[in-house]
């Protein structure tokens, strides 16, 4: 078929050997976030998730006005741990809203071809999608936590300005990562497996809530602290308790934080493995 016609080349030739540039995932993340910001529900969810920040700031303000109140609601690491823990429901809602369709829609409609017919690898695509969800979840966990810290420090410099609270910043970031990374992985896996955003969202809730229910049943049956290892949420909280050095809850009191962290790490790696093997531009029908 290589025929003998002669052509005059009229177009700018691009060299196919152009090396792949760095940070190829950034445009995927940028366009994905731009699209999400266009939805009122997304912005509304963020706005609601930020309300507790103001509640906590009012709490801090009162403790500065009425120091005796600190005995009941102290301004310490536990305040920030509790705040971050209370953001988990918002994180779940945001995961289902922003994450369930991220891969499912592309795989269902064949939109993945639009990405993979560009100079991108599958890893770039996955990283781009992870970034979209990571940023979305940060907006309801890490960033409110950091803003709360900043606000609380301004309101109560005498309490939070001392050296013993210097580590609050990395503690908040670390706990947020412990919450966000496994959640991101799990939602994207559901999105890749279900191929329907609704089923992906439901599947995610089922796994997240289901493992917590399973933990309750296992604990009732065995009274073993290791029952907490079956629950994603319990593992997150246990690692958070360890990071903030706060008193653990009864069910996880004797659960080693290292084990909980290991479970979450394995979950993240498992999710990555599934994403790498399941996400394909071309449907293979067998």
């Amino acid at each position: 078929m290589s025929t003998s016609q002669i052509y005059e080349q009229h177009y700018r030739r691009l060299d196919a050997s152009i090396p792949l540039r760095a940070q190829r995932w950034i445009p995927i993340a940028r366009e994905g976030l731009k699209a999400l910001v266009g939805f009122r529900a997304f912005l509304g969810l963020i706005a609601i998730a930020w309300l507790p920040v103001f509640g906590r700031l009012v709490q801090v303000y009162f403790t500065t006005r009425f120091p005796e109140a600190r005995r009941i609601v102290p301004v310490d690491d536990k305040l920030f741990f509790d705040f971050m823990g209370m953001q988990i429901p918002w994180m779940l809602l945001m995961s289902a809203y922003a994450g369930a369709g991220l891969i499912a829609n592309d795989m269902r409609t064949g939109g993945l071809l639009l990405y993979l017919s560009r100079p991108l690898t599958l890893g770039d695509y996955i990283l781009g999608k992870v970034s979209i969800l990571f940023a979305s979840l940060s907006m309801v966990t890490m960033i409110p936590g950091l803003v709360l810290l900043l606000g609380a420090r301004s309101l109560a410099p005498d309490v939070l300005g001392d050296a013993s609270h210097l580590l609050l910043l990395p503690k908040i970031i670390a706990f947020a990562l412990v919450m966000i990374l496994p959640t991101t992985g799990l939602v994207l896996v559901m999105s890749a497996l279900a191929r329907n955003p609704r089923f992906a969202g439901l599947g995610f809730f089922f796994v997240f809530v289901g493992t917590t229910v399973a933990q309750g049943i296992a604990w009732q049956a065995t009274r073993s602290p290791y029952a907490g290892l079956v629950s994603i949420q319990a593992c997150m909280r246990r690692v958070g308790e360890w990071i903030f050095q706060v008193k653990p809850t009864r069910m996880t009191a004797d659960l080693p934080a290292e084990w909980a962290l290991l479970v979450l790490a394995v979950l993240c790696l498992g999710c990555l493995f599934i994403l790498k093997t399941r996400v394909r531009a071309v449907e293979i029908v067998k």
Binding site: M1, S2, Y11, L14, R24, S117, L120, K286
Partner: protein, 306 residues
């Protein structure tokens, strides 16, 4: 001229199903038609050529590199796939610009190239409208625009004219021909012979995963003219259009589908028919036209038996 797309004894199985069997050919600059009935393996061949699938056996090279696992070649390759997946909430301009940003173009350059490509496919008036509101023909054209926008050296177009009105069919056919004349390699897949005739005379005939023949379109066309083809037309004034078309000598049958109001015609020699539809398109409000050509199958069966 160096071959840009090279298949060497390439085969592809989907589990026990063989989609392509021992296919070998080379494509240099110019336009090539990939012709075959539905399910012949055209899309699989395009997916192998564009590196979306790994060959189960043999090799597929694109611009001198293995097509699969060489994302770098996509700086110089454009793909207009058969899937109808677009970013529905983006405008046409945002859609093409967003995909260009994946190629590494900055925002200004992406916008400039996107606008040019959208003008090329004659969608400028609709480029600020959301893609979700586009008609089938407009969606095809915006898909084509994204494939063209980064000025690729090799273009793979899977059924690019589906759902377009006669005027746009002609415009896009002219565009494909021009791209070939510029020295690009354009591989167009279709199951409609008439579409190819307007673009190229060089075809690859594929059936049941095998390349049956490669070469000039003329001989195949003669063969096909013996078989009537089915055409479906969406027009504002279907009855008026039917009145005008019924006098054509090579018309085999003509009816109006009750549910959709579409005009269904069976024709033998399509040239006169398409020319007449073109002529009447403005007066009768012709919006879309499809050649639902199941009869190609019989020609391929004939070729296989030869």
């Amino acid at each position: 001229m160096t071959a840009r797309v090279v298949f060497k004894k390439a085969s592809r199985w989907y589990g026990p199903v063989m989609a392509l069997n021992d296919v070998s050919f080379e494509l240099g600059p110019g336009v090539y038609g990939l012709l075959g009935p539905n399910g012949a393996g055209k899309s699989s061949l395009l997916k192998l050529a564009s590196g979306q699938l790994r060959p189960s056996q043999g090799t597929v090279e694109l611009l001198g590199r293995p097509a699969f696992g060489s994302p770098g070649v996509f700086h110089s390759v454009g793909l207009c796939s058969d899937t109808d997946a677009l970013f529905e909430d983006f405008t046409g301009l945002q859609f093409v610009s967003a995909l260009l940003s994946l190629n590494g173009f900055d925002e200004t350059e992406a916008r400039k190239l996107a606008t040019e490509a959208i003008e090329t496919v004659d969608l400028k008036d609709a480029m600020h409208r959301k893609v979700g509101g586009y008609s089938k023909g407009m969606r095809q054209r915006i898909k084509l625009a994204q494939a063209l926008a980064h000025r690729p050296e090799v273009l793979f177009l899977d059924e690019p004219l589906t759902g377009m009105d006669p005027q746009n069919r002609r415009r896009i056919s002219d565009l494909m021909r021009r791209l070939g004349e510029e020295g690009r390699t354009v591989l167009v897949s279709t199951h409609i012979l008439h579409e190819l005739e307007q673009v190229t005379r060089r075809v690859l005939l594929i059936h049941n995963g095998r390349v049956l023949a490669e070469g000039d379109l003329g001989e195949i066309r003669d063969l096909l003219d013996r078989h009537p083809r089915s055409v479906r037309i969406k027009a504002a004034d279907s009855r008026g259009l039917a009145r005008e078309l019924v006098v054509l000598p090579d018309l085999v049958s003509l009816s109006i589908e009750e549910a959709t109001g579409h005009l269904l015609a069976e024709i033998r020699k399509p040239d006169a028919f398409f020319a007449k539809v073109q002529e009447l398109s403005a007066a009768c409000g012709v919006e879309e036209m499809w050649v639902t050509d199941e009869n190609l199958e019989s020609v391929f069966s004939y070729l296989v038996s030869k």
